[in-house]
């Protein structure tokens, strides 16, 4: 009687442990699969929209692709479609643009958030960015080449990193900035890692995006 009870408890503990490990495996790899599938769809849609003639009434909807982001420091194949919106749902599909912040190439702050782990982990190596590293943003007409200037670790409530002039909410912007936000430290939501950059130059967009080629 006691023996079988102890055996049952043992079996339950082992089962629980295996379940937890399996869930961790899902977090690390299963979520990435989801993101990659979504990214191919987004890239195809973006391709189609960019190939079509410009419509003046075109409006960006939440969940649409905004631009392509490439960061050579993260690898040659690192390409993601940036989604409009930063809800949990949006960020599961790829890096997200904070809807009320500037668009690529505009004066102000183009702010993107992305997962550092899970869901493809687009900003996994955000901590390795150094001043001068390029962040390439492709839009329909232009490629904007931003260069990293600095980074900071802040509390999750520090909303003014997304302000047009970071840390000076309400100030009038003069620079064309980019800001990446992601979680910090890795595998945690305790703090945020913020990477700032400024527009260096812009080029005409050259080749069409490679769909689904997200690292």
């Amino acid at each position: 009687m006691i023996r079988s009870m102890i055996r049952s408890i043992g079996e339950l503990c082992i089962t629980g442990g295996i379940l937890l490990l399996f869930f961790v495996a899902y977090e690390l790899w299963g979520t990435g699969e989801f993101t990659h599938a979504q990214q191919s769809t987004l890239a195809k849609d973006l391709d189609r929209v960019w190939a079509a003639p410009t419509v003046t009434t075109e409006k960006l909807k939440l969940g649409d692709g905004v631009a392509l982001i490439r960061i050579p420091r993260f690898g040659k194949d690192f390409t993601y479609v940036v989604v409009e919106g930063v809800s949990v749902e949006d960020l599961r599909r790829g890096p997200g643009h904070y809807p009320k912040t500037a668009l690529p190439g505009q004066v102000g702050n183009f702010v993107i958030s992305g997962h550092r782990t899970t869901y493809g982990a687009p900003f996994n190596k955000a901590g390795e960015l150094r001043a001068g590293d390029e962040i390439l943003i492709d839009t329909r007409e232009k490629q904007y080449v931003y260069k990293v200037t600095s980074d900071r670790v802040v509390e999750p409530t520090q909303l003014d990193v997304t302000a047009p002039v970071p840390f000076h909410a309400g100030a009038k912007p003069t620079k064309k900035m980019i800001t990446l936000t992601t979680c910090h430290p890795k595998y945690s939501a305790r703090q945020r890692l913020i990477v700032f950059g400024v527009l260096d130059h812009e080029l005409p967009r050259v080749k069409p995006p490679v769909p689904g080629k997200a690292a």
Binding site: L12, G96, S113, T157, T162, R192
Partner: protein
Amino acid sequence: MYLWIWRHLPAKSPAMKSLLALVLLALVAAALWYGLFPWLEPRIKFDHGTVNDT
């Protein structure tokens, strides 16, 4: 628990029982991976990268 399941597997030979057990395991794993985990994951959010005032 596992002994109980093993005894109730509807097969005679140990080889068939093992096969059934594997199929059962695969079914449970698939249900977790495609059913429970995708539902559970957004509710945990241990990797949250946005800044907000909430």
